[in-house]
């Protein structure tokens, strides 16, 4: 076979049963929604399924899928994570159709998740990516996506496949390329997105290192882009957001706060190198201030922490692995604070809280720019995009306010 219209890749290194199930589901999806098209399923975890593609020495599964799609000159490519237990045949339609029939270059997933689910995404990756590049793509970290041949070719041109982005950060990596380089982007409602596991033996620090590290690294590359952009806007949404019942998530808040308090003693010198003195003082003061029930890490302080870490990552104030590793206790403190604060809220209330956090990220962007460039903060000028009400369906590029 030398050509195919659609390529669907099965990513995520899972057991044979999970991959076999994913292949069956994708096959059913292709047969149901795209019977008139030539389609190929690529499974890089076990060589390939239906197609012989050689593995790169240490490349990622995504790269193998993209190479296969490029070689087959596919018009649309979709990648699904075999680790997702909620994968259905409809996902194939939702990820492929916007590319094939609506001319989008990137279809990001939109999951229905528990209010405490995706805490890294909701507290760091989504608001930060949104504040930087001006698009509300949530989550920007999804392992399931659709992609056009143009964006695919652009990704294959890049030489940072061996970086940390390849493993956990592939979703945010591709999303950032798409939103920064002017590709057309939309989202598809995929329903529930519960993960079987985050990865074999992957600790929180490792996950944070890859996710936050990828965003921070891309900030350096796309600095001219994000410094020009202000505010944010929605992207087109395909499918209907479903109101599904989701397994509840319980978190050991006390354990998270215990780790944070211990870190305040252990990591204070490292934090002093990573954060501005005032921010560091506020963080250390939190350790002794409140009882666990009343523990709060405010939005503003949290955003300043993340912006300071981004600047420290850029300035290499200390080894990047150590820097991102030291972010884990702070993240846990923020997650604990958020959980305590939203314990009694329904999903809508939690969404409002996340939206509020996103706005703080956007409002404090001048703080980031000032620290990033080492220039004093100037009073922010309200931008037309920031002032505008969010409009669903508007997918034109975020306004560059040079």
């Amino acid at each position: 076979m030398s050509r195919a219209d659609i390529v669907v890749g099965i990513a995520g290194f899972q057991d044979a049963a999970a991959i076999s199930r994913a292949v069956c589901v994708v096959d059913a999806g292709l047969a149901k929604y795209f019977p008139q098209y030539t389609a190929v399923i690529v499974n890089p975890a076990a060589g390939t399924h239906l197609l012989a593609v050689s593995h790169p020495p240490s490349g990622s599964a995504i790269r193998v899928i993209f190479q296969a799609a490029g070689r087959l000159r596919a018009r649309a490519c979709a990648v699904v994570d075999a680790g997702l237990g909620s994968l259905t045949p409809e996902w194939v339609d939702l990820l492929v159709r916007p590319v094939l029939h609506a001319g989008f270059d990137f279809v990001a997933p939109h999951y229905h998740r528990h209010k405490f689910d995706g805490a890294i995404t909701n507290s760091i990756v989504y608001p930060l990516t949104r504040a930087l590049y001006g698009y509300r793509v949530r989550p920007p970290t999804g392992g399931d996506f659709g992609i056009s041949n143009h964006l695919l070719a652009r990704c294959l041109e890049r030489n940072d496949w061996e970086s940390g982005a390849a493993r956990y950060g592939s979703g945010v990596w591709i999303t950032t390329i798409a939103v920064s380089e002017g590709f057309r982007i939309c989202q598809s409602c995929l329903g529930a997105g519960w993960h079987a596991a985050i990865g074999s033996g992957a600790g929180l620090a490792a996950v944070l290192k890859h996710l936050a590290g990828t965003v921070f690294s891309l900030m350096e590359e796309y600095e001219p882009v994000w410094r020009r952009r202000n505010g944010s806007r929605d992207v087109d949404l395909f499918g209907r957001p479903l109101d599904l019942s989701i397994d509840p998530i319980e978190a050991g808040v006390e354990g998270m706060l215990r780790l944070f308090r211990n870190a305040c003693t252990g990591l204070r010198e490292i934090w002093a190198l990573a954060m501005q003195p005032g921010v560091c003082r506020e963080v250390l003061a939190l350790a002794s201030r409140a009882s666990p029930e009343h523990f709060r890490l405010s939005d503003e302080l949290w955003v300043r922490i993340i912006y300071d870490f981004a600047c420290a990552h850029k300035n290499r104030s200390l080894d990047r692995g150590h820097l991102l590793g030291s972010l884990a206790p702070l993240y846990l403190a923020r997650a604990a604070s958020f959980m305590l604060e939203t314990e009694t809220l329904y999903s809508a209330g939690v969404e409002e809280r996340i939206e509020r956090l996103c706005r703080v990220y956007e409002e404090l962007k001048p703080y980031l720019v000032a620290n990033w460039t080492g220039t004093p903060i100037r009073p922010a000028v309200p931008s037309p995009v920031a002032a505008r009400a969010p409009t669903s369906g508007d997918v034109s590029h975020a306004v560059d306010t040079a």
Binding site: H114, F116, D117, G118, A119, I120, W194, H195, A197, I198, G203, L204, A205, V207, I249, E250, A251, G252, G255, M256, R258, L259, N262, A263, T265, G266, L267, E269, I270, A272, L273, N315, R316, S317, L318, D319, G321, H322, G325, S326, A328, P329, A335
Partner: protein
């Protein structure tokens, strides 16, 4: 009687004059050399600080970790560092030249030894600096890991690693300088051996139960639904 006293005083004055005539000119020369070296050092430091004022050197120092190793606040300026190195090097050369101006056996020997020792001393300094860098890097890594894994006393773990690496660096440096190398090596072997023995005994007699409890706690925590859901739903 008076004649004798006069003779003694005249002799003392003569000897003093002779000594002054012997040592004063070289002393004055040494002072002039030192002053010259100091002025030159100030001037060269000023020039070097201007040459290396760019941010590239600072970036390199930050990337390599030398910046935070020398200045824990991480605000070390590369230009200042280069300036200080050049300043003190010129002062050291000036001091040796000034010492040489006395032209005595003692000073000549001192200068000769210093000159011979200088390359070795520089090598030893490099070894110690490399040890400091490695100690700081691994110490920080251990600290972050220990905090995130909730290992008891993470700062002590990190400090222990730092001390051990610094000690190893000093042993290597002393061996390179051939300065009491056997003493340092023996001390190092004793420390490491004693540490291993103490650790083994502690594990055997006392800490075994604590370690078992700790590992069991870790396992149960990993098995608890609440914790697992936290780690797997991020």
């Amino acid at each position: 009687m008076l004649w004798t006293l006069r003779k003694i005083i005249e002799g003392a004055i003569d000897r003093l004059t002779e000594q002054l005539m012997t040592y004063l000119p070289p002393l004055l020369a040494a002072v002039v050399i030192l002053a010259g070296a100091w002025i030159t050092a100030l001037l060269v430091r000023w020039i070097f600080q201007r040459i290396f004022k760019g941010i590239e050197l600072d970036r390199w120092l930050r990337r390599t970790g030398i910046s935070t190793m020398i200045d824990p606040t991480g605000r070390l300026k590369g230009a200042r560092l280069v300036g200080q190195i050049v300043y003190w090097s010129i002062l050291a050369v000036g001091f040796l030249t000034a010492l040489n101006a006395f032209n005595t056996q003692l000073t000549s020997r001192m200068v000769e030894r210093a000159v011979l020792l200088l390359p070795k001393a520089a090598g030893a300094v490099v070894i110690v600096l490399a040890g400091m860098w490695l100690a700081q890097y691994l110490g920080r890594g251990a600290l972050v890991w220990a905090v995130n894994e909730e290992i008891p006393s993470p700062r002590r773990v990190a400090a222990g690693i730092r001390c051990l690496i610094m000690f190893a660096a000093v042993v290597v440096a002393s061996d390179y300088l051939q300065f009491a190398e056997h003493v340092f090596l023996a001390a190092f072997i004793l420390v490491v051996g004693a540490g291993a023995l103490a650790g083994g005994l502690a594990l055997g007699f006392c800490a075994r139960d604590a370690l078992t409890r700790y590992l069991a706690g870790q396992q149960s925590r990993a098995g608890q639904g609440a914790e697992r859901s936290l780690w797997t739903h991020l």
